[in-house]
């Protein structure tokens, strides 16, 4: 039974199909682990054993009648940004601390339709704004590799829960690196799809032109299975793309001979810690052993991605978060004298410091007289950043580099200085601005024996290629199978 916590989704699927384990037993195994190991980690913020077991019983019935899919009966956790009918959906905020969603997000609906069993809701930076999971109203998430360190963010609960084997898989969202950076800091595999591949319906909006949901798990193979179930056109998301259905795992077994890997010189300059550099270099050497070639490419405007992002993302957030007014749902201040005061007090009390900071920045850059200087300027630079990638992909099949400039840092190390925190996402943000797919996979350990992530950036709609490239590395290495000591 206990080896099941390290099993791949394919292995779990086989165990369920051959009745070696039932969905109820599997759900119970992980619920028991959540009870035992979650309290110090604070990864899950909502669980409901009865509801989970009811879903597991339904999955067992489906498996018994042969009506299951490859994912039926496999448990997972949802980042608390995804609306889940009947479950509290807080988005890590006091604003939604009592919000029980009346509907399911498209992603939740699709994974439930595939027969996956929900273990609970996962902690996150408030409204997905953060890179360390320190901004959650429900308290920080701790990194299972070292509980004095952050798990990364904003999908830090998802990452910590998988690393601690409290769930085999989880959903995440990535606006500027929120799947890839916590995956790197917790030693996991996470994938942000091309913008528009996964529906945003029911995914609480932060920056609509950048937000994209995706899978987090232990391996590329697991991510491919999950993405197959998550992706697809949805009329309820106006930017969902109508494309033919793909099997994202179709190329997993392709050999890498002849693969051209582009290494942006801007990603390998100053700023990356030496331990991260060593692990990334070793991974690139492994890829050359697998038959790939590496060559320098240039992304000359990538240094502008963080400042451009901190105009565009707050601008969109200030607009999206205007819906939280204390009228239709969410927190309402206990005392006020008129309507305006009800709005401004509800928002002052219901939002945390980082969320308010970003709303204020966004409000300013969109305000009369500043729109051209900030917002329009940032949108023009966004085009330059995207155009760099078009050029780079003329010379290579995938781009590689570090996911994060450092391994997981200590609590409080960056939380007093917003700009320093923003720079944690220096290697991930440009892909969101361009709408490209990106992945992070474990490639070794750095200082303090903390995991290091290798980032793969694919061409637009290059998910199957990225997964192939990641899977071949994971067949040749075992970094993705490592598990923290404290949760054994």
């Amino acid at each position: 039974m206990s080896d099941l916590i390290n099993s791949s989704l394919r292995e779990l699927s086989a165990a369920l199909a051959t009745k070696k384990v039932s969905a109820v037993e599997l759900a119970t195994l992980f619920l028991d682990r959540i009870e035992k190991f979650n309290p110090p980690l604070n990864a899950f913020i909502t669980t409901d054993r009865e509801r989970t077991l009811a879903q597991a019983r339904t999955a067992d019935e489906r498996l018994n009648t042969g009506a299951g899919t490859q994912l039926t009966g496999i448990p997972l956790g949802h980042k608390d940004i995804f609306c889940t009918k009947g479950w509290r959906t807080s988005c890590g905020s006091q604003m939604l601390a009592n919000f029980v969603s009346p509907y399911d997000a498209n992603v939740v609906e699709k994974l439930a339709a595939a027969g996956m069993v929900t273990l609970g809701k996962l902690n996150m930076d408030e409204f997905a704004m953060g890179s360390s999971n320190e901004t959650s109203y429900f308290g920080p998430v701790r990194n299972p590799w070292d509980v004095s360190c952050v798990p990364g963010g904003s999908s830090g609960g998802s990452a910590a829960a998988i690393a601690a084997r409290l769930t085999p898989a989880a959903t995440g969202t990535d606006t500027g690196g929120s799947i890839r950076q916590p995956a790197a800091l917790c030693g996991l595999t996470g994938l942000k799809p091309t913008y528009g591949v996964v529906s945003r319906y029911g995914m609480i909006a932060f920056a609509s032109s950048l937000d994209q949901g995706g899978p987090m798990a232990k391996s590329a193979e697991d991510c491919a299975l999950l993405l197959n179930a998550m992706a697809g056109f949805d009329t309820r998301d106006s930017t969902s793309l109508e494309r033919p259905t793909e099997d994202y795992g179709r190329d997993l077994e392709k050999p890498l001979a002849g693969l051209k890997i582009g290494l942006p010189k801007e990603f390998f300059g100053v700023g990356m810690d030496a331990d991260v550099r060593a692990a990334v270099d070793a991974a690139l050497a492994e890829y050359r052993k697998l038959g790939a070639t590496t060559g320098e490419v240039q992304l000359p405007n990538s240094g502008l991605s963080v400042p451009a992002y901190y105009v565009i993302a707050p601008a969109e957030a200030s607009s999206n978060l205007s819906r939280f007014d204390g009228v239709r749902y969410g927190y309402r201040a206990p005392e006020y004298n008129d309507l305006t005061e009800m709005y401004s007090r509800s928002r002052a009390q219901g939002f945390g410091a980082e969320v308010k900071r970003r709303i204020l920045i966004g409000t300013y850059v969109l305000s009369h007289g500043y729109y051209d200087a900030y917002y329009l300027k940032a949108q023009k630079i966004r085009r330059l950043i995207a155009a760099d990638f078009v050029e780079a992909f003329k010379q290579c099949d995938v781009i590689m580099g570090p996911t994060s400039p450092s391994v997981a840092f200590a609590f409080g190390a960056k939380s007093a200085d917003p700009v320093q925190m923003y720079l944690s996402d220096i290697y991930t943000i440009s892909t969101n601005l361009a709408g490209l797919p990106g992945m992070s996979l474990p490639c070794g350990f750095g200082n303090n024996n903390m995991p290091v992530g290798l980032q793969i950036i694919g061409n637009w709609f290059g998910e199957a290629k990225m997964l192939n490239v990641a899977h071949q590395y994971q067949k040749a290495t075992d970094w993705h199978t490592r598990m923290p000591e404290g949760v054994k």
Partner: protein
């Protein structure tokens, strides 16, 4: 340029976020740090560059003008802070 306390008060009013006098000072300093960081964008020549509003070029889809949603007013109002007779309650705005 950097923001002063009046600018911060104006932005907070536009954003409908109440700030106390003490918060206003800390907020001014933090916003100025962030705006200082963003300022490097101004040095880039973007003459003739088309702004990129979205990650992918999509056109607005239209659908037939037919009812697709069922009436779930009770479900949606169950999560509201205050309702009465199917209406959302807010402080009086018209005397």
């Amino acid at each position: 340029m950097s923001l002063n306390l009046e600018d911060v008060a104006r932005i907070a009013r536009l954003a409908r976020i109440e700030l106390s006098a003490a918060e206003r000072e800390a907020t001014r300093d933090q916003l100025n740090d962030i705006l200082g960081f963003i300022e490097q964008l101004q040095a880039v020549d973007t003459t003739g560059i088309e702004p990129m509003a979205h990650a992918v070029d999509v056109v607005q889809r239209l659908r037939p003008d037919v009812v697709t949603e069922t009436d779930r007013r009770a479900d949606f109002q169950a999560v509201a802070p205050e309702t009465e007779a199917g209406l959302y309650l807010v402080p009086r705005v018209v005397e």
